[in-house]
Amino acid sequence: MSRFFHTGDDSDTSSESSSSSSDDDVGPSGARTTVGGVTRSRFLQSDSDDDDVKRISRSAKDRRFDALVAISNDVKNHIKNSDWSKLQEDFDSLNDALKKIMKTDMVSGRKPPVPEIYVRAIITIEDFVSSTLKEKPKLSKTNATSLNRMKLKVPKNSRQYKAEIDSLKATGKPTLYDMNMDDSSDSDSSDDEGFKKKAHDSDDSDFSSTDSSSDSDDGGGRGASIWLRKDKVTDSAAETSKSRKVKKVSVARDDPGLADDADDDDGFTVVTRKPIVREVFKPEEMTEESVDAKMLEILQARGRRGTNKLEQITLIESLVPCSKSPRQRIEIMLHLISAKFDGIPAAKLFMPAELWRSAIGNAKDVIALARDNFPGIRFSDEADRQVEDASILLKGAALGGEIIDPTGEAVEGTGAKGVANEQVKKTEVDAEGQIIVRGDIVTTFERFDDELYRAWQHTDAYTPEYVERLKDETALLDLAADVQIYLETAADREEGRDASDGVRLNALRARAARVAARRVTHMYYKPDELNNKVEELCGRKNSDKSLTELAVLVYRYGDERAKSFTMLAHIYNHALENRFFAARDMLLMSHLQETILDADVPLQVMFNRTMTQMGLCAFRIGKPREAHACLQELCSPSFGGGGGGLARMKELLAQGITQQRGYEKTPDQEKAEARRQIPYHMHINLDFIETAHLTSAMLLEVPAMALSKARGDVRRYAISKSFQYFLRNSMKQAFPGPPENTRDFVMAATRCLMRGDWNGAYNHVRGVRSWKALSSTTRTETLERLKELLKVEALRTFSLSYSSYFESMSTSQLSHLFGLPDAKVHSVLSKMIINQEMRASWDQPTASIVMRRTEPSRLQSLALQLASKVANMTDNNEKLMDAKTGGGDRGDRKDDGDRKGGDWKQSGRGMRGRSRRTGGGGGNSDLRNRDGMDSRSGNR
């Protein structure tokens, strides 16, 4: 890239707000150049590229004055154009510049006089304000508001400098226009004069050359831009002498078309600027054709370099009342909406709220109009498109997607001449007399949705703005409902027709499904309770359709990805509402866990979210086994990287960007990750996930550990490796401190549970802070269930660990100890006996359990050990043999290979790993369930 581009960037950003802020940069750096001579400011680099222009050394103070001068020039220009919004900015920058001057001089200890030029500028503005207020011309909305603001600000400001103003007014020539050679700010040495003169001459010639081609030239834009940029630089850098200033002013006066707009995105927008801003359309004067023609004219300017986007919006807005028919109105509105989408400032990552709101208001009008005129007007769709020429499609794409394509007939005549020449716009009417409007309301709606989503992503969740943006969702959902109703009505009508067009019908249905899919994404993560509350607050029904109805629509007509996403959202919602079984059945029947690895990342994230929510649901309804199965993969600490469980969780759920140790992300990856972040209000509480995971793991692990100890197993299959890891670490501590984080609490609970102290365990688990994530009723219910589970597991652990010390235990004592009813104790222990976990039997008459533990003799235990060791050895030999012959086709081993081989960086990877593992792991109830379900859904 050449440096030109580089500097071009520079001016883009600095001139965005105002020229004074760019001077802010220039000031000190310019000074530095003088002193050091080595370090060059970025600004000056561009100068040095051109040999004609030399660097000019100037003091910081002078630069500030220059800034003031430059601004006052702008002021003059903007007054000429009555561009109030710009003028307002100028006014602000004037004050900023002044502040800086005053500050610098304060260092030297004395208060400098207020520069005359400033006072003059103020007076000029004041005059202009008052005169405008008197005349009351017709102003555009933005200008009017700016004027109002100025009306307040200016007098207030003037009061401060009353003395100066008065003295200047006394001279009789107080305005900028009256300013002449006696400007005292010019303290330049005259050595530079020649240089500057030269530079300026060349500038002027440039100006005129571009000027001549200003009408519609943008081919030369690049070249011109270089020149103009330079011009700007030299302007601010060298314009000091009054002679030149006068000249400049005169140039500006002579050629109004040249009036530079310093606030444009590019420094060289002069080129295509047209004086249409002040054009006011008078509805009564325009015919339908002329409105169309005007629209086309505006459209052609669209996307060109130098077209002021905001201006375009105002233009189209003012065209709206001129529309003569609903058809035209809809079209203009659609253009307006797309213009608003275009108007997103480049520096912003999303559409500003104001713009968004006004645009969605327009969209609502569009759909209302379309509905009122149904079926006289309809939007074009695939059926029409099929008829059309491919070239039109191309053109449509060139014009930016959702814009109206010129009509088919028109193209036939003019197709060869290209877009620019298209002047005729004929209303297209289909065989039935329906007027066809080119445009896709669904795409527009989706765009709104995307913009809002992006706004959520990029707004700080702790600010009131975020809340404000959240409120916008209601408007969006309103629009969605309207659009969908409209489409469905259209589809029903199409279906009811005798000669219904299959393609069109499908297209309509598919679009309705698209809207439905979007609506689902806005609904699925909200519990009913929340929905109801929102409805109460808004005083109306939030949606006319339930989630299920929408989902069914998508399943029937949507595309594959939408189907998968909606399915997951549906499952998520089931889980959120504690309908675990429904969620489980649906997930298993969807078969998504088999294909999720081939899906795109957002879908994988959604899958992870769904699995997590399922896990939490299982936890809430007191099913630790299922909860653990769902959450295990998510919570296991990441391989390789030391990010820990939380970091991995964040990545898998797209709830925050994390840095992994030992692995640098490329900028692209980082961007992609930022793009798929889930907005804050949709987050799942990470801390609670951890609580659920660890608590479930505890409930499963502790009795299992006791069991393996009682059996004297040498090796044991770990249910949760991460839990065991934490437990080992925790057990190493000689003096465990009071628990601080979730993990500590659960570990403390584990210690209690291992002793069979369910109450202590319960109290520790209850102490975890993340219970706050649940609503109070759910919390009490969940804790209640948890308590029961803890009692049972404590009983199991107790009887397994200490059975060797007892000959018999009575039911009543146990039930007293564990706070369980006799029947429950009986049932728990019976189960253990049947499953042969414990060697004991009941003595019915005394209601006690009699242990039958027979300690093997030394010889016997040695024999047992030997036997198991020999078996182990044979195992190992077989493995060796397998490795040698290369026949490693067994399920279990393959599984391992898969897990290691997978790309662990990929989000969602783990989830498949999990489903396979649960499929392969033996003995748990979930497994059979899954397999059964799989083949079951095969039937469907």
Partner: protein, 450 residues
């Protein structure tokens, strides 16, 4: 009435098959009072007037209201007769042959009961075949099931794969007819053929998965008639319903069938092996369906709540005796359920008081003692009775350590020899034999460790 499945079941049954269910509700003394009799009769009339059995409908009508049947029914009757005659005319050439027993025998002996032969030798035009099908269908609708079965058989034999879809429906027709005529052997045969046709979708008839599911659902429901009436039915039903595909169908479409499955499993002598699977399914579906019978199983095998199981048994009795399919099995079920409770109970106890046992088994003490003695005598129980203390004392078996050692080393030899063989083999070569053998060993080992 709670836990009555008539409504649910009738969704999946043919109209003609619902009639016996309704008759059961009307007539059986145990069901007395659970439904308003008049309503049921009305329902029956509605049902009948949609079939071709207009005479029957008229009779029922007279029975219920005591007034002559309305004119519509009369008209309908005429229509039915008209259509029937028309169809019979259409099918007459073939019908004559089929009804001629002697000729039929001759034909089947010479293996020439084919369409080809009939067309050439007996001047039967090929279109008549379809007429036969239509006639069969209509006759079934009129209630002459026997004819239907014969006609459908004839159609299937003659069509011989030319119209697979129709033949498939003809098979259903024959199955329905056989059920209605209570020819259970024939019905069982039909059922198996249907099952095969459905499972091997694509070979003769093409069914998409959803259709397959529906067909299976129907098959399951219809098969209940067969299984609960056929002498070998109880074994058949457990095998049939517990096969993967049908279990899935039950879970997806009709969890209420679990009642019949559970009853069949409990009353089946070979239940031990399948009980575990059944318990899992019942647990899984407990949120979708539960009735006293499944709850009984849950109490007994999941919660080991013997009191609860006992209570449930009472409810089971109420439910079973009002079920058309199960009322005949009530006694068997109670007996077997009781024994199941007792067996499980014994497995976890060392001493049981006979008095308590008697009350749990709903028997007097003397009977209970006798019952236990019988169990002991048939070597189904390792126990003794302490008649002084009035207790049953269970025998205790402690698995011997030596046995464990023997178990875990038993297969080491064979595994070692396999290894030795493989060592000799050239590297990289692994024949199918080795793999199979090896895998079998592995599986064996894994089972044991479990």
């Amino acid at each position: 009435m709670e836990f009555d499945l008539t409504r649910k079941m009738s969704e999946f049954l043919d109209r003609h098959q619902v009639i016996p269910l309704l008759d059961f509700l009307i007539q059986h003394p145990d069901v007395e009072g659970s439904y308003n009799k008049e309503d049921v009769v009305k329902a029956k009339i509605d049902l009948l007037s949609n079939t071709g059995m207009v005479d029957y409908a008229m009779e029922t009508h007279v029975e219920l209201y005591g007034t002559p049947a309305p004119v519509e029914l009369e008209n309908r009757r005429d229509q039915v007769i008209l259509v029937l005659h028309a169809l019979e005319d259409d099918a007459s050439p073939l019908l004559a042959i089929i009804q001629d027993d002697q000729l039929m025998q001759e034909l089947s002996e010479t293996n020439s009961f084919t369409m080809e032969h009939l067309t050439t030798q007996h001047d039967v035009p090929p279109e008549v075949l379809d007429a036969i099908y239509e006639l069969g269908k209509f006759r079934f609708d009129c209630g002459s099931y026997e004819d239907t079965a014969a006609l459908m058989w004839a159609y299937r034999t003659l069509a011989n794969g030319n119209n697979p879809e129709r033949e498939f429906f003809a098979l259903w027709g024959k199955f329905a007819a056989d059920i209605c005529t209570e020819k259970w052997d024939a019905a069982l045969e039909d059922m198996n053929m249907l099952k095969e046709a459905i499972d091997s979708s694509g070979r003769s008839v093409l069914l998409n998965p959803l259709q397959q599911l529906q067909q299976r659902t129907w098959l399951i429901h219809w098969s209940l008639f067969v299984f609960f009436n056929h002498p070998d039915g109880r074994n058949g039903i457990t095998d049939f319903l517990l096969s993967d595909k049908y279990l899935n169908t039950i879970q997806t479409n009709c969890p209420h069938i679990l009642r019949y499955l559970t009853t069949a499993v409990i009353t089946n002598k070979r239940r031990r092996n399948v009980m575990k699977d059944l318990v899992k399914v019942i647990q899984q579906e407990s949120y979708a369906y539960s009735d006293p019978i499944t709850e009984f199983v849950q109490c007994l095998y999941v919660n080991f709540d013997f009191e609860g199981a006992q209570d449930m048994l009472q409810k089971c009795e109420d439910t079973l005796k009002r079920d058309y399919f199960l009322y005949k099995m009530l006694d068997d079920f109670l007996e077997d359920a009781r024994r199941t409770i007792f067996e499980t109970y014994c497995r976890i106890h060392q001493v049981i008081d006979i008095g308590m046992l008697a009350s749990k088994l709903n028997m007097v003490q003397y009977d209970a003692e006798k019952w236990v003695v019988n169990l002991i005598r048939h070597a189904r129980l390792d126990a003794k009775i302490d008649s002084q203390a009035n207790q049953v004392i269970m025998g205790v078996t402690v698995p011997s350590v030596y046995e464990q050692v023997v178990d875990s080393t038993k297969n080491l030899l064979i595994r070692g020899s396999v290894l030795a063989q493989n060592c000799d083999r050239p590297q990289g070569y692994s024949g199918g034999y080795r793999g199979d053998d090896d895998r079998r060993n592995r599986r064996g080992r894994r089972d044991r460790t479990n």
